[in-house]
């Protein structure tokens, strides 16, 4: 089934630990995005990639890093997790120049 897949679905993480959230799409979309969703704050862009090999910072990039080694995968890494990074994380992809982004089912991360 074509789409975008995130893993894990949920995770409880001790503060200070390193964590990588995985995201894979099979639609051959050039653009990929990571958002975090917090109650009352909507969706905020963390990092984005317009094409394989390039990445850029969004609205709230601090504490996060990404890589885009190929078209399909766009992992998000928390180098040293802090409680303020407790959130629901969504990965999305879209064709270049398209307003229609396809979202994964989300990863619920709790940092304790």
């Amino acid at each position: 089934i074509a789409g975008i897949t995130q893993a894990p679905t949920s995770q409880i993480l001790a503060a200070g630990r390193r964590m990588t959230l995985r995201c894979t799409q099979d639609m051959r979309h050039n653009a990929m995005y990571w958002y975090r969703q917090d109650l009352g704050l909507g969706l905020r862009l963390i990092h984005y990639s317009n094409t394989a090999g390039t990445t850029g910072k969004g609205e709230v990039p601090d504490g996060y890093s990404v890589s885009r080694a190929n078209t399909d995968d766009f992992p998000l890494t928390l180098a040293s997790a802090v409680p303020s990074q407790t959130s629901v994380y969504f990965c999305a992809s879209s064709s270049t120049g398209s307003t229609e982004a396809f979202f994964g089912q989300g990863t619920r991360l709790t940092v304790v």
Partner: protein, 113 residues
């Protein structure tokens, strides 16, 4: 960056009635204005978009209106059904990259039987 906001955090409507969800934006240079729907436990899903040079666009049971004079966007849902219960986000698109897709905070649409 773009400032995208909604007028109400929660909207309650009777099943069968029409729903109107509103949104205000700040950047007049945005190319497209978009509505997304997010059902509980799922990621947002694209509903409809409207180009900045248009005033109205219709889809299946949905209509989006754009008033550039007052920087206002609305989503109208005809004959609201239980399956329409969700959080609705307006978003603006100004090209790729960091300004590509900026979301508002969302309105929770509640359908009453």
């Amino acid at each position: 960056g773009e400032n995208v906001g909604l007028h109400l955090p929660t909207l309650s409507v009777q099943e069968g009635d029409n729903s109107i969800i509103n949104c205000a934006y700040s950047n007049s240079a945005s190319d497209y204005f978009i509505w997304y729907k997010q059902e509980s436990g799922k990621g947002p899903q694209f509903i409809i978009d409207i180009r900045s040079n248009m005033d109205k666009r219709q889809g299946q049971r949905v209509t989006v209106l754009l008033n550039k004079t007052v920087k206002h966007l609305s989503l109208q849902i005809a004959a609201t059904q239980p399956g329409d219960s969700a959080v609705y986000f307006c978003a603006v698109y100004s090209g790729g990259g960091a300004d590509g897709l900026t979301f508002g905070k969302g309105t929770h649409l509640i359908i009453q039987p």
